[in-house]
């Protein structure tokens, strides 16, 4: 099943993306640790959208949030049309430094099986995949 939401590239769009995510994740099949997985995916979706809004947004444009839901996996894709960022240069948070940023990518990589990012002339694509055992 494919779900698509296109929202303005503004921080206020978080108020649109959050209930959309909640509704989509209710469609997850009955799997082991379903409640925990839904909580984690809710967090990851918020991180992905925030990342696009903060680092890749351009006023007047949109971002696209897509979910592809299969019986054994989910793919979350976020497309933005801003300047983008380099996923590989984001360093894990250093607790000694007590830093304010850098936790978003760390959270996404901690929870998801695959995190990929591609910059193209047509937009920046963040793709996150998580799979689980079919029951």
């Amino acid at each position: 099943m494919h779900y698509l939401l296109e929202i303005p590239a503004a921080l206020e769009s978080l108020r649109i993306a959050a209930p959309f995510t909640t509704a989509v994740l209710q469609e997850l099949p009955e799997i082991r640790d379903r409640d925990r997985i839904i909580r984690e995916l809710t967090l990851v979706a918020s991180e992905a959208v925030t990342n696009a809004l903060c680092h890749g947004s351009v006023t007047g444009l949109t971002i696209r949030l897509e979910y592809d839901l299969a019986p054994d996996a989910i793919i979350i894709s976020v497309t933005d049309y801003g300047s983008g960022f380099d996923l590989e240069t984001v360093v894990p948070p250093d607790l000694v430094l007590f830093q304010e940023g850098g936790y978003g990518v760390y959270i996404m990589k901690s929870i998801m099986d695959v995190v990929s990012y591609e910059k193209t002339d047509d937009g920046n694509y963040l793709v996150l995949r998580k799979s689980w055992e079919r029951q």
């Binding site: 921080l11 978080l14 925030t50 607790l95 830093q99 304010e100 978003g104 959270i107």
Partner: protein
Amino acid sequence: MSIKVTQQEAVTVLTLTGRFDALMSREFKSCISGLINNKRLYMVIDMSSVDFIDSSGMGALVGGVRGVIKEQGEIRIAGLSPEVQTIFELTRLHRIFDIYETVDRACASFS
């Protein structure tokens, strides 16, 4: 999310309600800055009504703690739900913050 500011003797209590994400972290940072400017440097952040927090909220908390400590103040966090506690542990920030079960215990810790 909403932020309610109350005073318990010398301690300022910030009661947060709802979703603590990037949108509401702006409001939180502004609130903390205002309190610091007014020399209200002993604070408790009541998180018992926060049902969701992401890295933006965590970053705002870190910034708030740094700002208060810089002015020789002290700040505590109270009332984490199990769901929110999980995010603290995932980012390992539970090791850095002073966390209490309740606001009363957090306030009492100042004396």
